[in-house]
């Protein structure tokens, strides 16, 4: 019996696999409940057992790498928001930092703190979405209400600062968006953070931590949830690395690695936080890692609220941005994993080439290997646990 790299099939005991049936091709998707976007799986099944799976992607392909070549640098960030739309701002940051490095510009400390604070708030928002929708895919609808309620507080705060809930387009080369109220004759009016934002953020983080405790009891400790996820969809660490699986999916497999600890693109070294990891690399571990990451992100946000320095939001940059010749790769720990941009400039007003390294692309490229030999009812549990966004796969 081939079960894909000797993985243990938890459901084996419960489903009769004696009966041999003719091979059947099963089309799953493009639209089905466990995707944020559209993904089609062409599965060859033998009864309840999957022989092989071919994911068909590209339904969301918008050609951002090409579009970036015909836009100026300030225009590109509006596209990048839409890659992983559950964490729009987090996509902007590495690209902007790559351009800043080539130009030799550095954002002022207040802007850097805001980048960290908002990235972590988007991480909380993205993970809360996962925390609520994943149990839903497995048949539990109540957690959705709890987690989405608190997510709304976070999104309101993000909207207060950036003007957008999902597509903030907030980062600028040299810092963050200066303010509303520009225009002729008003250029000295510089608006900073909205009134009450920092206090509101502190309160929201307390609520977020509280909902994590709720989810802990409601989902993590739930016997049905455990039965559906423990021992299912195991990704061993070495497979994860070879396929470029990153972020919480990699940490679920027990690899204690987080780009926030090793990359110097933002001053994360001034913050105190831990990297949660799983043990078995199964769906359950991936859930628990994200649950724990919300708590850690909330810790970072509170520390940023306490320590945010005063000062300008943007460094002095020319009005017409031209980036000197050069190449550099900047990556960041996004909610889904390693998000990076290889930016090639030849001195023009727009990039010559941008390679967008998005996390979900590599995270689901492991699917043909991972789904081989599993049972049909486990497909949704496994897909959901990888927490991918199709915009992040197709770009």
């Amino acid at each position: 019996m081939s079960s894909g790299g000797g993985r243990v099939l938890h459901s084996e005991a419960r489903v009769s696999v004696e009966l041999q049936t003719p091979e059947m091709t099963l089309n799953i998707g493009p639209q089905h409940p466990s995707t944020h976007g559209v993904l089609r799986l062409v599965a060859k099944v033998d009864g309840e057992r999957i022989d092989s799976v071919e994911p068909v992607v590209g339904y969301m392909h918008r050609g951002y790498e090409k579009l970036a070549e015909v836009r100026t640098y300030p225009q590109v960030t509006a596209l990048l928001n839409r890659i992983d739309w559950t964490a729009g701002l987090a996509n902007e940051v590495p690209f902007i930092i790559a351009a800043e490095r080539l130009m030799g510009v550095e954002a002022p400390p207040r802007a850097q703190y805001l980048r960290i604070m908002l990235t972590e708030m988007f991480r909380i928002s993205a993970h809360l979405l996962f925390l609520s929708s994943y149990p839903l895919e497995l048949g539990a609808s109540t957690p959705l209400m709890y987690a989405l309620r608190e997510r709304e507080h976070v999104l309101d705060l993000i909207e207060g600062v950036t003007g957008g809930r999902f597509h903030p387009n907030f980062n600028r080369i040299g810092g963050v968006k200066p303010a509303a109220g520009g225009g002729k004759g008003q250029r000295t009016v510089v608006q900073d953070l909205p009134e009450g934002f920092l206090e509101g953020t502190r309160r929201a983080m307390a609520k977020v931590s509280a909902v994590c405790d709720d989810m802990e009891a409601l989902v993590r400790g739930n016997e049905i949830f455990q039965q559906r996820t423990k021992g299912v969809g195991i990704i061993p660490a070495e497979k994860a690395l070879e396929y470029g699986v990153s972020g919480p999916n990699l940490r679920g497999s027990g690899v204690r690695f987080d780009l926030r600890k090793v990359e110097a693109h933002l001053p994360y070294d001034r913050f105190d936080f831990e990297i949660p990891v799983g043990e078995n690399g199964d769906c359950f571990d991936r859930y628990v890692v994200r649950l724990e990451e919300i708590r850690q992100a909330a810790r970072i946000v509170v520390q940023a609220v306490d320590g945010i320095p005063d000062g300008p939001l943007r460094a002095k940059v020319p009005r017409v941005i031209k980036v000197p010749k050069g190449e550099c790769y900047v990556r960041a720990e996004n909610p889904k994993g390693e998000m990076g941009y290889y930016l090639v400039s030849t001195g023009g007003r727009g990039p010559y080439r941008v390679k967008i390294r998005s996390a979900s692309f590599s995270n689901i490229s492991v699917l043909p290997w991972l789904l081989e030999g599993v049972l049909v009812p486990d497909i949704i549990a496994i897909l959901g646990s990888l927490d991918f966004v199709l915009g992040d796969v197709d770009r």
């Binding site: 590209g58 090409k66 990153s246 110097a264 009005r319 030849t346 023009g348 010559y352």
Partner: protein, 181 residues
């Protein structure tokens, strides 16, 4: 934060002694010969087990979209595809970009799928976007583009139809204002 050159040099000196090392703004890049492409990855895999991405750059003097590359006086653009891969570790964050030049008239390079399984989709994407052949790839079919799509969109010679019809009004909000230096 970036890997020290000497350690890596030892690691791959047997495989590709002609490798050229360049480090710029925290990004380390090792340019190797096309014939060493797979062996260099094999030699580095134990040091860098994480396969991050693979892609290419179309270096062209004439472009159908965007700004043409600015050249220094007397500088000549070498027309070629540059195939890039990024591999890294998961302990101290070291990583490396491997690069090799592929001539346009013979756009092919050996596939990395035998070394890093994760190269599969990346090579399929690069193949359809640039028209580069990855020799030995088990299933080099399109990834994103619909059936019957003609052309390789990320080549610099590939024009964007919508931009041909109507130029992007990209200059409007960056015109110099009064008082700008």
């Amino acid at each position: 934060m970036s890997p020290s050159e000497s350690r890596l040099r030892d690691l791959i000196s047997d495989v590709c002694p002609s490798a050229v090392w360049r480090e710029e703004l925290g990004t380390a890049k090792l340019s190797i010969a096309r014939s060493d492409w797979v062996e260099a990855h094999r030699a580095l895999k134990s040091r860098f087990p994480f396969f991050s991405w693979l892609s290419a750059i179309d270096w062209a003097a004439e472009v159908a979209v965007g700004d043409a590359p600015e050249m220094e006086e007397g500088e000549q653009m070498v027309e070629r595809f540059e195939v890039l891969s990024r591999i890294s570790d998961v302990s101290d964050g070291d990583g490396l970009i491997l690069s090799t030049d592929v001539p346009k008239e013979d756009a092919c390079v050996d596939s990395l799928t035998g070394v890093y399984a994760g190269a599969d989709w990346h090579e399929r994407e690069a193949a359809e976007m640039f028209g580069i052949d990855f020799i030995g790839h088990p299933n080099l079919v399109g990834l994103y583009l619909p059936d019957g799509f003609v052309g390789h969109p990320l080549r610099k010679s590939y024009a964007l139809l919508s931009r041909e019809v109507k130029p992007w009004p990209g200059d409007v909000d960056v015109e110099p204002r009064e008082g700008d230096g």
